[in-house]
């Protein structure tokens, strides 16, 4: 446990001293602020008219202005799609950088279990992802309140918050294997390429009606808050995460490390 806390200190230090928290926070803010801007434009026809193309796109978002429940659903979907890429980026950076920066070798022949090093990376990357989800959600809530969306109630907010929280947990779970891909690929390219593929496949299987069995489609379906998922879907997402963590641990522990 002492080892784990020391490793978490190291990972936190490395993350905080890098530019990544700023980049990812900026990426996280773009989503709710962008949507708030579009809703604002859609609810003000005079501005929409002046903005031309942007105004026309904003009109598509008009449905989001109808009520808090739909707006909160949109927040969940934002985390399921945009959050997925951001979280992927974080996990790829936390794990992949040790390979691309050549710093991995300094962590291998040390009197700390490699399991503790890997677990600390997972803890920090997951906490970082959760913090970004909170940033997205809180920014969305403030923007929604400022826009004065209708149908606000404690029950609606609680339900929306719960959906967003579970969606965040599911996204983090299905992102865990990308730490393994970053380790096997010894860098960023393989996991980021696979992340794009996963999202494309998620869309395809959803169209085909098999989304509930495809781990990377589960968060998006959950965010929609409808009966698209069965209990097995949640089990699949959690098992995907567990397999990602275990695979990463085994790779760090037993694979030849030449970098």
């Amino acid at each position: 446990m002492r080892d784990l806390s020391a490793m978490i200190w190291i990972e936190t230090r490395k993350a905080l001293r890098s530019r990544m928290p700023w980049f990812t926070a900026a990426g996280a803010l773009v989503m709710p602020l962008g949507i708030a801007f579009l809703i604002f434009v859609a609810t003000h026809p005079e501005i929409s008219h002046k903005l031309g193309l942007v105004g026309a796109k904003a009109n598509l978002m008009t449905y989001a202005t109808t009520s808090w429940p739909m707006y909160l659903e949109l927040q969940g979907q934002m985390i399921a799609a945009g959050g997925f890429f951001l979280f992927c980026l974080i996990f790829c950076w936390v794990f992949g950088r040790e390979f691309t920066d050549g710093t991995l070798k300094d962590m291998l022949a040390v009197p700390v279990a490699r399991g503790s090093i890997v677990l600390a990376k997972f803890v920090v990357a997951a906490a970082w992802s959760a913090a970004l989800a909170a940033l997205i959600f809180i920014t969305g809530l403030v923007a929604g309140a400022l826009m004065g969306l209708p149908q606000a109630s404690a029950a609606v907010l609680l339900q929306g918050s719960l959906t967003v929280a579970v969606t965040t947990g599911l996204v983090i779970a299905v992102v865990l294997p990308f730490a393994f891909f970053a380790s096997v690929g010894r860098g960023y390219l393989l996991p980021l390429g696979l992340a794009i593929l996963a999202l494309m496949l998620a869309n395809l299987v959803m169209v085909l009606g098999w989304g509930e069995y495809f781990p990377w489609a589960v968060p998006g379906l959950h965010a929609q808050g409808k009966d698209y998922l069965s209990p097995i879907s949640y089990v699949i997402a959690v098992l995907t995460g567990a397999a990602g963590m275990r695979g990463t641990h085994l790779w760090w522990k037993y694979a030849d490390q030449n970098r």
């Binding site: 230090r13 050549g102 070798k105 300094d106």
Partner: protein, 307 residues
Amino acid sequence: MNLAIETEDLGKRYGDVTAVEHLSLRVAEGEIYAFLGLNGAGKTTTIRMLLGMIRPTTGSATVLGARVRLGRREPWAAVGYLVETPHAYGELTVRENLEVARRLHPGAPAAAVDRCIERLGLSAYADRRTGTLSHGNAQRLGLAKALLHGPRLLLLDEPANGLDPAGIVEIRSLLLELTREQGVTVFMSSHILAEVARLAARVGIIHEGRLLQELDAEGLERNRRRRLLVRARDQAAALRTLAAAGRPAALLPDGTLELTDAAVVARPDDVAGLLAAAGVPPTHLVVEEEELEHYFLRLVGSSGGAA
């Protein structure tokens, strides 16, 4: 004799490529052992196997009494290392990088960070981000990380890389001091024989993955070729005189006579006397030892191409 490192038939293959084979080494505690080889000879692969970073295809390695296995925590508390080019977290300062290294060695005192900064001459750069360090200072930081926790064994891959001449002398003194005063064992790789000959008690020469020769400082001296170079005012007469006396010499392109017979080289005064008696006294007489680099290249069989 207590052994710090022992390998038995250690080998590593990557598909059809043999990186290291049949490597059996014994390094005694407290000695400096130099592992010498050209680039790609298998030095780094060996060091990585000794550090449990890659799994041997054959054989085994024991470090400080513990059998090396991938992912184990033993015996790394007492081992410091520097493998290939040193890397550090560019966004962290020198001090922060050392703090990271310290936390990777539970039990290393906090004061060790400042002590290492001072010892490796990094005080002026302590609060500078490592991304801006010169190659030489990055190398010093790599060595500082290796020394931070007071290891009993140092595994250093080309420790002099990137250092200026003053830095090389400094690190050489540091390693000698650690060995003599604290009994630290040093296993270092290099491709420069002249460098390691000044430092190492024993040298192992590896080529194409195989250990060609292991020798101590005396053996190194003994195995190097020696020759006697002679010049006289009348080289042709000197050549004839030596041949007639059963001491054949070769005429080098610059006109110098070269004698390589060990018995002759051991007694240059006899040659001087012989030539003087024949009326062609030598104007230049010198016993020259084969250069270390030439010896090394001759041994690995590539002197023709590389010398």
